[in-house]
Protein backbone atom coordinates (compact mmCIF):
# COMPACT_ATOMS: atom_id res chain seq x y z
CA UNK A 1 0.00 0.00 0.00
CA UNK A 2 1.51 3.32 -0.98
CA UNK A 3 0.62 6.77 0.18
CA UNK A 4 0.90 10.34 -1.01
CA UNK A 5 2.79 12.50 1.46
CA UNK A 6 1.26 15.93 0.92
CA UNK A 7 2.72 19.07 2.50
CA UNK A 8 1.18 22.52 2.19
CA UNK A 9 4.10 24.77 1.26
CA UNK A 10 2.24 27.81 -0.06
CA UNK A 11 -0.67 29.37 1.82
CA UNK A 12 -4.17 29.06 0.42
CA UNK A 13 -5.04 32.60 1.51
CA UNK A 14 -6.69 34.52 -1.29
CA UNK A 15 -7.01 31.50 -3.55
CA UNK A 16 -10.40 30.46 -4.90
CA UNK A 17 -13.06 28.98 -2.69
CA UNK A 18 -12.71 25.78 -4.67
CA UNK A 19 -8.97 25.46 -3.99
CA UNK A 20 -9.40 26.27 -0.31
CA UNK A 21 -12.18 23.68 -0.17
CA UNK A 22 -9.85 21.10 -1.70
CA UNK A 23 -7.17 21.95 0.88
CA UNK A 24 -9.75 21.50 3.65
CA UNK A 25 -10.85 18.16 2.23
CA UNK A 26 -7.23 16.99 2.14
CA UNK A 27 -7.00 17.98 5.81
CA UNK A 28 -4.47 20.76 5.25
CA UNK A 29 -5.03 23.73 7.54
CA UNK A 30 -1.78 25.60 7.78
CA UNK A 31 1.53 25.88 5.98
CA UNK A 32 4.11 23.10 6.40
CA UNK A 33 1.41 20.73 7.66
CA UNK A 34 1.83 17.21 6.30
CA UNK A 35 -0.90 14.66 5.65
CA UNK A 36 -0.84 11.17 4.17
CA UNK A 37 -3.49 9.81 1.81
CA UNK A 38 -3.70 6.49 0.00
CA UNK A 39 -2.75 6.62 -3.66
CA UNK A 40 -6.08 6.82 -5.47
CA UNK A 41 -7.52 8.71 -8.45
CA UNK A 42 -9.67 11.01 -6.32
CA UNK A 43 -6.76 12.12 -4.16
CA UNK A 44 -4.68 12.60 -7.33
CA UNK A 45 -7.41 14.82 -8.75
CA UNK A 46 -7.46 16.88 -5.56
CA UNK A 47 -3.68 17.27 -5.67
CA UNK A 48 -3.93 18.49 -9.26
CA UNK A 49 -6.40 21.19 -8.17
CA UNK A 50 -3.90 22.63 -5.68
CA UNK A 51 -0.62 21.61 -7.33
CA UNK A 52 0.82 25.13 -7.03
CA UNK A 53 0.43 25.06 -3.25
CA UNK A 54 1.56 21.59 -2.17
CA UNK A 55 4.62 19.34 -2.32
CA UNK A 56 3.92 15.66 -2.96
CA UNK A 57 5.97 12.49 -2.71
CA UNK A 58 5.07 8.81 -2.71
CA UNK A 59 5.72 6.83 0.48
CA UNK A 60 5.40 3.16 1.38
CA UNK A 61 3.80 3.80 4.73
CA UNK A 62 1.95 6.66 6.39
CA UNK A 63 3.25 8.38 9.51
CA UNK A 64 0.79 8.95 12.30
CA UNK A 65 0.21 12.46 13.61
CA UNK A 66 2.20 11.59 16.72
CA UNK A 67 5.15 10.39 14.63
CA UNK A 68 5.12 13.57 12.55
CA UNK A 69 4.98 15.64 15.73
CA UNK A 70 7.88 13.73 17.26
CA UNK A 71 9.99 14.01 14.10
CA UNK A 72 9.46 17.76 14.02
CA UNK A 73 10.44 18.40 17.64
CA UNK A 74 13.82 20.04 18.15
CA UNK A 75 16.24 18.09 20.35
CA UNK A 76 15.61 18.90 24.01
CA UNK A 77 18.03 19.25 26.91
CA UNK A 78 21.63 20.27 26.66
CA UNK A 79 25.03 18.70 26.20
CA UNK A 80 28.03 19.61 28.30
CA UNK A 81 31.07 19.90 26.08
CA UNK A 82 34.39 18.85 27.57
Amino acid sequence: MSYFKITLIRSGIGMTKRQNGVLASLGLRKRMQTVYHRVSPDVAGKIMKVKELVAVSERERAESRAEIHKRRQPPCGFVVEA
Binding site: S2, F4, R10, G14, M15, V39, S40, P41, A44, G45, I47, M48, K49, K51, E52, L53, V54, A55, V56, S57, E58
Partner: protein
Protein backbone atom coordinates in the same frame (compact mmCIF):
# COMPACT_ATOMS: atom_id res chain seq x y z
CA UNK B 1 13.57 64.85 5.80
CA UNK B 2 13.03 61.31 6.92
CA UNK B 3 10.13 58.99 7.57
CA UNK B 4 6.72 59.05 5.95
CA UNK B 5 6.97 62.66 4.70
CA UNK B 6 10.33 62.55 2.95
CA UNK B 7 10.19 63.84 -0.61
CA UNK B 8 10.05 60.78 -2.81
CA UNK B 9 9.07 60.30 -6.42
CA UNK B 10 5.47 59.17 -5.77
CA UNK B 11 4.88 61.98 -3.24
CA UNK B 12 6.20 64.65 -5.59
CA UNK B 13 3.31 63.81 -7.84
CA UNK B 14 5.16 62.13 -10.65
CA UNK B 15 3.81 59.09 -12.42
CA UNK B 16 6.00 56.30 -11.13
CA UNK B 17 5.36 52.70 -11.96
CA UNK B 18 6.40 50.64 -9.00
CA UNK B 19 6.14 47.32 -10.82
CA UNK B 20 8.78 47.13 -13.57
CA UNK B 21 7.44 46.16 -16.97
CA UNK B 22 9.61 43.02 -17.11
CA UNK B 23 10.81 40.46 -14.61
CA UNK B 24 14.31 40.63 -13.17
CA UNK B 25 16.73 37.75 -13.70
CA UNK B 26 16.18 36.28 -10.18
CA UNK B 27 12.40 36.53 -10.64
CA UNK B 28 12.73 34.59 -13.88
CA UNK B 29 14.96 32.03 -12.16
CA UNK B 30 12.39 31.47 -9.41
CA UNK B 31 9.60 31.29 -11.99
CA UNK B 32 11.51 28.50 -13.80
CA UNK B 33 11.99 26.68 -10.50
CA UNK B 34 8.23 26.88 -9.79
CA UNK B 35 7.41 25.55 -13.24
CA UNK B 36 9.89 22.68 -12.78
CA UNK B 37 8.49 21.90 -9.35
CA UNK B 38 4.98 21.52 -10.79
CA UNK B 39 6.32 19.30 -13.60
CA UNK B 40 7.98 17.07 -11.00
CA UNK B 41 4.82 16.96 -8.88
CA UNK B 42 2.63 15.93 -11.84
CA UNK B 43 5.19 13.25 -12.78
CA UNK B 44 5.30 11.94 -9.22
CA UNK B 45 1.51 11.69 -8.93
CA UNK B 46 1.27 10.12 -12.38
CA UNK B 47 3.92 7.48 -11.62
CA UNK B 48 2.30 6.58 -8.31
CA UNK B 49 -1.05 6.04 -10.02
CA UNK B 50 0.50 4.07 -12.89
CA UNK B 51 2.06 1.63 -10.43
CA UNK B 52 -1.48 0.81 -9.26
CA UNK B 53 -2.72 0.64 -12.86
CA UNK B 54 -4.89 3.73 -12.57
CA UNK B 55 -5.19 7.00 -14.41
CA UNK B 56 -7.03 10.22 -13.70
CA UNK B 57 -8.49 12.59 -16.28
CA UNK B 58 -6.99 15.72 -14.70
CA UNK B 59 -3.43 14.42 -15.20
CA UNK B 60 -4.06 13.05 -18.69
CA UNK B 61 -5.49 16.40 -19.78
CA UNK B 62 -2.60 18.29 -18.21
CA UNK B 63 -0.02 16.12 -19.95
CA UNK B 64 -1.81 16.38 -23.27
CA UNK B 65 -2.30 20.15 -23.27
CA UNK B 66 0.48 21.67 -21.13
CA UNK B 67 4.13 21.94 -22.20
CA UNK B 68 6.78 21.16 -19.59
CA UNK B 69 9.17 23.87 -18.43
CA UNK B 70 11.85 22.64 -20.85
CA UNK B 71 9.44 22.71 -23.78
CA UNK B 72 8.16 26.22 -23.11
CA UNK B 73 9.48 29.24 -24.92
CA UNK B 74 10.90 32.08 -22.79
CA UNK B 75 8.09 34.28 -24.08
CA UNK B 76 5.50 31.97 -22.49
CA UNK B 77 7.43 31.51 -19.25
CA UNK B 78 7.82 35.18 -18.41
CA UNK B 79 4.98 36.97 -20.21
CA UNK B 80 1.31 36.29 -20.72
CA UNK B 81 -1.35 37.25 -23.20
CA UNK B 82 -3.03 40.57 -22.35
CA UNK B 83 -5.99 41.81 -24.35
CA UNK B 84 -5.45 45.52 -23.71
CA UNK B 85 -1.65 45.77 -23.96
CA UNK B 86 0.25 46.90 -26.98
CA UNK B 87 1.65 43.77 -28.60
CA UNK B 88 -0.87 41.67 -26.65
CA UNK B 89 1.72 40.66 -24.04
CA UNK B 90 2.49 41.73 -20.49
CA UNK B 91 4.87 40.51 -17.81
CA UNK B 92 3.76 37.38 -15.98
CA UNK B 93 4.56 39.13 -12.70
CA UNK B 94 1.61 41.49 -13.25
CA UNK B 95 -0.86 38.63 -12.81
CA UNK B 96 -2.50 38.65 -9.36
CA UNK B 97 -0.93 35.94 -7.17
CA UNK B 98 1.36 35.02 -10.04
CA UNK B 99 3.60 32.79 -7.92
CA UNK B 100 0.63 30.58 -7.05
CA UNK B 101 -1.13 30.19 -10.37
CA UNK B 102 -0.30 28.14 -13.46
CA UNK B 103 -0.28 30.01 -16.75
CA UNK B 104 1.42 28.10 -19.56
CA UNK B 105 -0.53 28.32 -22.79
CA UNK B 106 -1.80 31.16 -24.95
CA UNK B 107 -5.29 31.64 -26.36
CA UNK B 108 -5.65 30.27 -29.90
CA UNK B 109 -4.02 32.56 -32.44
CA UNK B 110 -1.72 34.31 -29.96
Amino acid sequence: MFGAFRPSQPLLGGLLWKIPWRMSAPQKYRQRKRLQRIDRLVNCVDNALKKQGMTVAAIEEWKASMPTEAEMEPRDKYTIFARNERGYRKGGHKVPKWTRVSQRVNPPGF
